[in-house]
Amino acid sequence: MIELLWSVFDLSLVLLLLALAWGTCSTRDVMRAVTLFIAMGLLLAIIWARLKAPDLALAEAVIGAGISGALFLSAIKDYPSTITVSHRTPVLQGLINAFTLALVILMSWAVWHGLNMSDGIRLSDQVVAQAPVSGVSNPVTAVLLNFRAYDTLLELAVVLTAVLTVLTLNDRRYSHVVSSPLLQGMTHWLVPLLVVTSGYLLWVGAHAPGGAFQAGAMLAAAMILLQLAFPSRRQQFSLYLVRFLLVIGIFTFVVVGIWMLLLNDVFLAFDPDWAGTLILIIETMATLSIATALALAYLGGRPMGWEEGARNNSASTENEGAG
């Protein structure tokens, strides 16, 4: 009986998910598309939890639905409200539909066979076996920050590259900021709550679901909220501090890695005794970097005065003599 209930539950989740996805992709109204997308993100978070992936449920809710949703909502403010799909000829549309359908069928056939392929030692066994030596007891954190730490380092580089691009392209947005006493009042207790939650997620990530990315995104939400509630064209945070925070995550990661290289002859090889501490240090700095990066990404571009240093350089070199 329980089995049947679970199956019904799973089936409804899947059908709802596919319906939301279809809606997001086919609707003609931009606002509706974004709303459905955020709803889909939250449903995905529920599905991750159902599939016993609580770290991901947290991450999806705060990053996948939260930050992504906020980015989209911000972007559609000055965007045409109807979506047109008129550029593709009917023949091409038919081809695309047929091709996608064929691919789906092909992949389903592959998966049908694949799920029955059992294998010898799965990586999960190794993870469980080595987890005690990794310095943390949350296996996902162990994989992220110890076994496959190099991937996380590159991932931080990806985040930094994206933020650098955002800063390169535009000045930050001011148009969407509408403050009110109500928002400011809420901020007084919401922001500290977010900061504390973020710190908790960071700390607890070692032995329970949580970690640097979820914590970073929460902190970003706090920063964004502050900017929304107290808008000011003058830069409130020192730009030197902002630059420092952006790079400190990767920098710490690299320094620790090199230190281990010099000590143990292998990059990012943590001694079991120190692993827990080192991971916490790296995660803390990474949280700060991720938070700064995501907040800047939401703000959409350069804060005032971001490139003054470069402009001063150019002014001084011009004074030194004509090119």
Binding site: L106, M107, W109, A110, V111, H113, G114, L115, M117, D119, G120, I121, R122, L123, Q126, V127, Q130, N146, F147, R148, A149, Y150, D151, L154, E155, A157, V158, L160, T161, A162, L164, T165, T168, L169, R243, F244, L246, V247, I250, F251, V254, G257, I258, L261, N264, D265, V266, F267, L268, A269, F270, E307, G309, A310, R311, N313, S314, T317, G323
Partner: protein, 484 residues
């Protein structure tokens, strides 16, 4: 300490990028120093592979499978060396190309991230790590393309990013299926485990499709011409010479080593045919192009096509010296094109800054005003056509002989037509450049702008042509999957 060069070649540019974000005043200097150090590291790596064979660095100390491994063998180390040479030359060029200090400050951090991505990709031994490096590569390449800040550049960048993301996701779907069936992500382990099954076939298709998008093989090439043509000159050099090339590298790695049980002669023939179409179509479009950089971009489409024509031949030839020779010839063509195309783009940049435009029909007088640059264009043109003594002459020679040995003589027709078209479009430029014109002002003298391109072109046309003898033995002895 020497063993660690494989780490330094990735980490030094990364640190350089962080430094250039924090202190934009010293960004140019930081970039030059970082790239030279990374170049030294890549030489150390090649040397080490040469002396003692392929080697591995297991990151974190975890055995490959649980952790990620970095691997260097002949194929990846040679490509790495080429990559660092091109990057170093382009770095010198870029330090004087950008006159606006603001643009310069934006350029260097992203440029160094591109270097990190390239090096990390070439040395990666893990399938998911390849995905992450591909994403880093995509994002930094797009960001650099958008630096031109023109409408055309932004449109090209947006299209480039969308296509790139799609390619990455298709690739990632393939990775998911591989993990589903085989429970590991390590390339060496997978090469031993993967056998023909519905799952591996579909995964193979997905991975290949994603990589074909990124290597701009016809008909998935449509994003390339506008992106490479509207990016700043040093960026275009890196895009055509390196970014597209490493996608082909991953494809080779997967086809030759990991999925060798899964691929069929038919699939290789399909890619070869698309490559042949790319050669003809790309060369034809290059001939029609009105702008120098657009012509070079279409030429890249054609040259990538040549690389894919090798595939059905390598698959068809039996194990042994013939197969190895074809494989090495592919590598040689890839290397030659890398040097030649980057030299070409840097020269196009010089011309564009000097003349204010890069319209081919109005290039009259360039030969007199910019003699060194015109010479470089001629040199790289020799390599693009495939005339002796360039490396691509040897490459095409082996391509032709492999075609006959494998009984697939029809590729020779394509190579001939492609070479004729290449001759046409190269001489078209030179014809205009040597055209007469009244006084064109002072002659530009070399220095940071022109010397780097010259060095690259010399690599393509002389050094690779005469000095590639050692390459054959090196590659056949030191690929890291012994006798797969």
């Amino acid at each position: 300490m020497m063993n660690d060069a494989i780490i330094w070649v990735i980490i030094i540019p990364l640190l350089g990028s962080l430094i250039s974000i924090s202190w934009s005043r010293y960004a140019s200097l930081t970039a030059i120093i970082s790239n030279l150090l990374a170049l030294a590291a890549s030489i150390v790596i090649v040397n080490q592979v040469y002396q003692s064979g392929p080697f591995i660095h297991e990151l974190g100390g975890w055995q490959a499978g649980l952790g990620i491994s970095l691997r260097a063998d002949a194929l990846s180390s040679v490509l790495l060396l080429m990559s660092m040479l091109v990057v170093s030359a382009a770095t010198f060029y870029a330090s004087s190309y950008f006159t606006d200090a603001v643009k310069r400050a934006r350029f260097w951090p992203l440029w160094l991230m591109l270097v990190v991505a390239l090096n990390a990709l070439l040395l990666s031994g893990d399938l998911f790590n390849l995905y992450v490096t591909l994403e880093l590569l995509s994002l930094s390449a797009v960001a650099l393309t958008a630096l031109s800040d023109s409408r055309a550049a932004l449109q090209a960048a947006i299209r480039y990013l969308s296509i790139g993301l799609l390619g990455s996701l298709v690739f990632l779907a393939g990775v998911a299926l591989v993990y589903m069936g085989y429970g590991t992500l390590d390339l060496l382990a997978l090469s031993n485990k993967i056998d023909a099954s519905p799952l591996s076939q579909v995964a193979f298709g997905l991975l290949t499709a994603g990589l074909l998008i990124k290597s701009a093989l016809f008909p998935l090439h449509f994003w390339l011409p506008s992106a490479h043509a509207s990016a700043p000159a040093p960026v275009s050099a890196a895009l055509s010479a390196l970014v597209v090339k490493v996608a082909v590298y991953i494809l080779l790695r997967l086809w030759m080593d990991v999925f060798d049980q899964v691929l069929t002669p038919l699939s290789a023939m399909l890619l070869g045919t698309l490559g042949a179409i790319a050669v003809i179509w790309g060369s034809w479009q290059a001939l029609q192009a009105q702008r120098l950089k657009l012509m070079a971009a279409y030429s890249t489409v054609a040259q990538i096509g040549y690389l894919f024509i090798f595939l059905p031949l390598i698959v068809a030839l039996p194990e042994g010296s013939l197969k190895d020779a074809a494989f090495t010839a592919l590598l040689l063509m890839a290397l030659t094109h890398g040097f030649a195309k980057s030299a070409f783009f840097l020269s196009a940049g010089v011309i564009q800054q000097y003349c204010g435009h890069d319209r081919i029909a109005e290039l009259a007088g360039t030969a007199r005003a910019l003699p060194l640059t015109t010479f470089v264009i001629a040199l790289s043109g020799v390599a693009l056509i495939g005339l002796p003594p360039s490396g691509s002459f040897l490459g095409k020679w082996y391509l032709v002989s492999s075609s006959f040995q494998a009984g697939q003589w029809w590729w020779v027709v394509v190579i001939a037509v492609g070479s004729i078209l290449a001759t046409a479009y190269v001489f078209r430029i030179l014809g205009y450049a040597f055209g007469p014109r009244e006084s064109v002002g002072r002659v530009l003298n070399g220095g940071r702008k022109e010397i780097p391109a010259l060095i690259l072109a010399l690599f393509a046309t002389l050094i690779l042509g005469f000095g590639s003898a050692g390459l054959w033995d090196f590659v056949s002895q030191h690929r890291y999957f012994p006798g797969s």
